[in-house]
Symmetry: C2
Subunit: 96 residues, 2 copies
């Protein structure tokens, strides 16, 4: 039946959503660790060259169906959220 | 050394980026399949109730460090890109 087909696909999508959630948070933890190392080094957190490199790697490894530009937009949003995470940690550290 | 520590963390981040890329594209393929089933059924592609449900599941399963609102923003961007993917398929089908 068509509705079963839709239900199966939706179940798969729900699983992928949870995998994505876990992976984005795993990425968040790594970015927090990187923030701490940079803090100790006195290095700036925002590194546009490193961001550009990561976006190029995304495009180079993209097998679709999303277009490079769409994926790069999504990753830029993830980068932005990650930088905010590091800034939150920084503020918390200052308040202690 | 501090720079080795940063290099190791960055390598891990690069790996997570590639996993994310693969997973977002896997999600894209599922959404394309769902679009085709809905097309056959004559169902509307955009389903705000289903989107809201998925966003609630994200918040319910979020273990951080990202806040619920940040993750929901990122997922909304992914949903938007997915809908555009379905619309592209629709246009292509019409042009054949």
């Amino acid at each position: 039946m068509m509705n079963d087909e839709l239900a199966v696909l939706r179940k798969k999508l729900d699983d992928v959503n949870l995998d994505l959630l876990a992976l984005i948070n795993e990425r968040g933890k790594l970015v927090q660790e990187i923030g701490k190392v940079k803090e100790k080094q006195g290095t700036k957190r925002f590194d546009p060259v490193r961001e550009r490199d990561m976006l190029n790697v995304i495009a180079d490894n993209n097998q679709g169906p999303f277009q490079d530009g769409t994926l790069q937009h999504l990753f830029k949003e993830i980068f932005k959220a990650s930088l905010e995470l590091q800034e939150d940690d920084m503020h918390k550290a200052l308040l202690v």
